[in-house]
């Protein structure tokens, strides 16, 4: 029998809330974290809104030894990990170092750090480039720094599948736990709201150019106009259910099923892979569509992928047959950080019996979805499905379930 894998700790860094408590009350209250960019002057760029995390002062949370070698994204990930471990009541110093691992996702790495070093290189010369540039920009840097800071020497790695990566990393964490590692730090944080990172994102042509924070990112709305990027994500402490029980840990619930697929070649006319990913995740969880109490949609915010997603949900569940929500309407799309944040929201929905709302959206009637709009909806939630897609054709679906 395959081992059950549970989540025992959550650490959240979101544009509308720092820490689980702030994030969850903000999300249930419909608090918008999207606004005009403050980290640089966006006036000369075609897209000027983002979901920035306000009030994060790295010096308040991390020793000075870490700061010269880390990008903002890694500082956020390290602090979210500290919070998640504390939430899990897990003290790495008291655990066997080879029995703990770190598997996160990343879609960008440390762009702001890299931009600074490129500016030094071209502005002042190669001798001014930090030795830490060697790793501070890299996709795997969050996993590496979390592993070093917490003395975790078991399986480590990074999963890079853009927006789908956050679920794929958690799936890989579950795999490693089933192979025998007791605890894996997983999830993802992405953050690249700096001119260099912004230009890279603009090149996709998918960013919303609206200047209205409540009208810029409108998934499943007839007026959808692209997406607003955000920074942040969530770190999850995943553990073997028996090991967690043995140390007396409380569990938010189980990572019950996962499915991932690739889309066919664009223009092929074949069906996109999202429906299949959902079916694979349900089968992996041993769940029927009727067992799912809420779907956290990917919510691309563009007509074509919105239609694809609505059709996939409807194909599996039926028309308006399951509540669907997109809390990321309050944060923007956090790349690989988005799905772990949705997983956190799903576990909190299970805990509190309430579905967080989708805000700002006037749903297009063509989509046969029961969207949870504007207000949180009280409902018993035992199982939730989280969907995530990544640029390039990645689809991923994950079923989470209340602890048995």
């Amino acid at each position: 029998m395959t081992a059950s894998v549970v989540v025992t700790g959550l650490g959240v860094a979101s544009p509308n809330g720092l820490g689980v408590k702030d994030y969850w009350s903000a999300t249930l209250g419909g608090k918008n974290g999207i606004g005009r960019i403050t980290r640089f002057d966006p006036s000369s760029y075609p897209a000027r809104l983002a979901g920035e995390i306000p009030g994060f002062v790295a010096e308040d949370h991390l020793p000075s030894r870490i700061l010269p070698q880390t990008d903002r994204v890694t500082r956020l990930a390290l602090v979210a990990t500290d919070w998640a471990l504390k939430d899990a009541g897990a003290d790495p110093a008291q655990m066997s170092e080879f029995d703990m691992g770190v598997i996160t996702a990343s879609a960008a790495g440390g762009f702001e750090f890299g931009q600074g070093e490129l500016q030094s290189l071209w502005g002042r010369g190669s001798q001014y480039v930090s030795a830490y540039q060697s790793f501070a920009w890299f996709y795997a840097v969050n996993s590496g720094q979390i592993s070093i800071r917490n003395g975790m020497k078991g399986p480590a790695g990074v999963v890079v599948s853009e927006g789908a990566g956050g679920l794929d990393a958690v799936a890989h964490a579950r795999r490693q736990i089933r192979k025998g590692t007791s605890l894996i730090v997983t999830g993802a944080v992405d953050a690249s709201i700096c001119p260099w990172g912004w230009v890279a994102q603009l090149s996709t042509g998918k960013l919303s150019t609206s200047d209205e924070p409540a009208r810029a990112y409108l998934p499943f709305d007839r007026d959808c106009r692209g997406y607003v990027p955000g920074e942040g994500g969530a770190i999850l402490i995943t553990e073997d259910a028996d090991a967690a029980r043995a140390r007396g840990a409380r569990s938010y619930g189980e990572i019950a099923g996962h499915g991932s697929t690739m889309d066919p070649r664009p223009g092929s006319g074949r069906e996109p892979g999202l429906r299949k990913a959902i079916e694979l995740a349900l089968a992996d969880a041993g769940a029927d569509p009727g067992d799912i109490d809420v779907v956290f949609a990917d919510g691309a915010g563009d007509p074509e992928p919105d239609r694809t997603e609505a059709e996939a949900i409807t194909a599996v569940f039926g028309a308006r047959a399951v509540p669907v929500t997109v809390p990321k309407t309050m944060t923007g799309r956090l790349y690989s950080g988005a799905a772990p944040l949705d997983l956190a929201a799903a576990f909190l929905a299970i805990r509190d019996g309430v579905i967080p709302p989708t805000v700002h959206v006037d749903p297009c009637p063509d989509h046969l979805l029961d969207l949870v709009l504007d207000q949180p909806r009280p409902a018993p939630v035992r199982s939730a499905l989280v969907l995530a897609r990544g640029s390039g054709g990645f689809n991923s679906a994950m079923v989470v379930r209340a602890a048995r």
Binding site: P63, S64, R65, L67, P68, Q69, Q127
Partner: protein, 89 residues
């Protein structure tokens, strides 16, 4: 141009700027012969510190000698060794 000798205070200042200070480490203690590893500085931190010293002092450090310097005392000696000919010239 006269160059002053490179001191422990110089090294501490450079280390703080290049790599910060690890939790639980007191650079103001008696650290002259404490291994860098114990002080929380790995080879990359020392590479970055060396790079700062090179820029500040206008010298070029011998990479192998820097790699072999495991304590503040030996590191300071390596820097002063390079400063000496610069002073003489």
């Amino acid at each position: 141009m006269a160059t002053k000798a490179f001191t422990l205070d110089d090294l501490k200042r450079i280390l703080k700027e290049a790599a910060g200070v690890a939790e639980g480490v007191d650079l103001d203690g008696d650290i002259l012969d404490t291994e860098f590893e114990v002080l929380g500085y790995e080879s990359l931190a020392l590479l970055e510190a060396g790079s700062l010293i090179e820029r500040e002092c206008g010298i070029s450090l011998d990479e192998e000698a820097v790699n072999d310097a495991h304590t503040p005392r030996t590191f300071i000696d390596v820097v002063n060794m390079q400063l000496a000919p610069a002073t003489a010239a």
